[in-house]
Amino acid sequence: MTTLDFFHDETFRDDFTYWNSPEAIRRFPFPFNEDKYMYSVNLEPHVAFKPGSVFEKSFDVDEHYVSEMRDRALVLQEDPLRCQSLPHMNMAGWDLLELIMTKKAAEYPQWFELHQDGDRWRWVNRPLDIDHTFTFLDNTTLPYGPMEYIMRQTQGDYAILDQRDNNLWMDAGMITTQADWSLDFDLGMNFMEWHGPVPLAHEMGIFDRALKFLLNVRQGQPARRLNWTMTVNPRLDTSPERYAKWGTDRMDVNADNVGQLMHLRVELQSFWRLPRSNALVFPIRCYLISLQDLATIPKWGRRFHRVIRDLPDELADYKGLTITRPYVIEYMSQFDDGAPTSPGIFADDE
């Protein structure tokens, strides 16, 4: 796909005109590799995998790119604190800008170009109609700080973690599509502190193992994992800041509209060591799919019913299902004929 017609003109708020094409549905990163779900440190090397899938490129760009960037700009206009960087993280911001620009220019040459002449860099972003020349490592030549500049052109939330004292510290980030956590509140916390509110996983030792793994992520060897939650409406900005505004969405769900309103929200998380700052950058790329679209893939319809039906209550709360779970189970049951499902996350017959 090379033309700019590829990108949708859609909204993630108010009238919610967001939609997935059949191709986007087939490449959706369905997160369950078996008929049940429990936490695990499901990390694997982030290497190019399965052409056309969301795992193919370093930083996936899909049909929602342009509209997502428009939504991000709206969020920032209302609440600039969604993007923050402690002063010592400036170099990490440049590291990230360099990583994303070089990867996108190499992997999507039809949309992005990077021309480097020493410190003078020219960056072309066709989908967003940007053609900008700046000086690498000179903040004054960008309209925003380096992290904010590149993040306004990159899908997904990004946390940049400083590594020191054998821990990771959330010292910078662009968080406008978060699943209910506040960057402004969590900024400056270490790995155990910002994961404080997650139930069960501490006791299971999940975070100890994950931290140990992440501290050793090496330059040139990124890692990835999938995480998921549920959201009413294709709303990107489910921040606690605006919870009082979107919380009532859950009350709109009923047996008739659950297939349209409820969305499975999957995060493709990846982990990259940045060279100059030695920070770890943690992209949290969000994919949304309505239950009715999800059910068009028979394997996913069956499996998702079983996963939600058997989910421990504590996890159901945490995944945003407290009120809506009965409707979801009832709706999904019509797609579960009891047939066995194949291993792995991908749709069958490929």
């Binding site: 400036n90 050793n216 330059q219 040139g220 060897q221 060279p275 100059r276 030695n278």
Partner: protein
């Protein structure tokens, strides 16, 4: 000729394009990528692992990158010749020639700049200066407040170069003039938010760390790099339970090198007993584990359940590892 090995970490093939005699015992090597693609960017304090095919032995030694951070057309390292060591530095000094090819790892940084610092105080002894060369270039570029204190055996080309580059930011102390770093004064007069970085011989490192602790410096403000050369000793055998094989560790070989030579993939980062990446579970043993690392706690050493095969050895009848 590049020998293949079991090590699965991505490697870069480089050519030795320049060798410079820096002092009577130090040489600086310049490596250029064979495929012409830019080398991965690195930050001050990073090292690469250089893989040498020395006869039938594959040696992998970590060396700090000393070139200017941001340089992507070559990597430079400085190597001090150790006449009584295991032979890696002798290979680099006596065998390696311009035009030879080598494999090097991607950069790994276990000794990076802490950019929260309001001031950076660098203390080096001898060849311990190497990580600071790239760090200082970076700090200079960032217009950061820093100060170097280097003690060296004698004067030499290295010191002249540093004086030229950093002038009044550097203070130099010569062992042959009985000059000593005035550590107590240095550590009691620093503004809040100063970070201390130390690299040098073990005795010096211990002295600086102890003095800083006694002066009330929190460990979070004290950074150090301590690469141990793997100890030498008597040869012994190790049983690798998961792989189902027995490997023999030579007197001048590390357990990690022997495991790799046997074709078993084993993780590592620093190869110097500091980072913890190669930690391996001891299934059983009859004899004595000779721990040489700085990663495991004293209790872990005493427990006999873990070992760091990059620097530690074994003496006795039988050792079984989960690898």
């Amino acid at each position: 000729m590049i020998t293949k090995s079991a090590d699965k970490t991505p490697k870069i093939e480089v050519e030795v394009t320049h060798i410079q005699q820096v002092s009577d015992i130090i040489k600086r090597f310049t490596f250029t990528p064979v495929d012409g693609a830019p080398l991965p960017v690195f930050g001050g304090g990073a090292h690469i692992v250089v893989e040498m095919s020395d006869g039938d032995i594959i040696r992998r030694n970590p060396y700090s990158l000393v070139s200017k951070p941001g340089t992507t057309d070559n990597y430079q390292i400085s190597v001090r010749r150790d006449d009584v060591g295991r032979g890696g530095s002798l290979y680099m000094h006596n065998t390696l020639k311009v035009g030879d090819h080598l494999l090097v790892s991607h950069p790994v940084n276990l000794f990076h700049i802490d950019r929260r610092a309001r001031k950076h105080l660098l203390i080096a002894g001898g060849i311990g200066i190497t990580p600071f060369l790239a760090m200082m270039a970076e700090l200079e570029d960032e217009v950061a407040n820093f100060e170097l204190h280097l003690s060296a055996r004698t004067d030499g080309a290295f010191l002249d170069e540093l004086r030229g580059l950093y002038g009044s930011k550097g203070s130099f102390y010569r062992d042959d003039h009985n000059e000593v770093i005035p550590l107590n004064d240095l550590l009691t007069g620093q503004p809040l938010g100063t970070h201390l970085y130390v690299c040098g011989p073990n005795g010096m490192l211990e002295w600086v760390l102890r003095t800083a602790e006694d002066a009330g410096w929190p460990s979070q403000n004290v950074h150090y790099e301590r690469f141990l050369a793997p100890a030498t000793g008597l040869p012994y055998e190790v049983n690798l339970a998961t792989s189902g094989i027995t490997v023999r560790v030579g007197g001048h070989q590390s357990m990690l090198e022997a495991i790799e030579a046997a074709g078993v993939d084993a993780p590592y980062l620093c190869r110097g007993g500091a980072c913890g990446q190669c930690e391996t579970r001891v299934v059983s043993y009859d004899g004595e584990l000779l721990h040489n690392d700085h990663f495991l706690t004293e209790e872990e050493h005493a427990s006999g359940t873990k070992i760091m095969p990059c620097v530690s050895r074994f003496q006795g009848r039988e050792l079984v590892l989960e690898r």
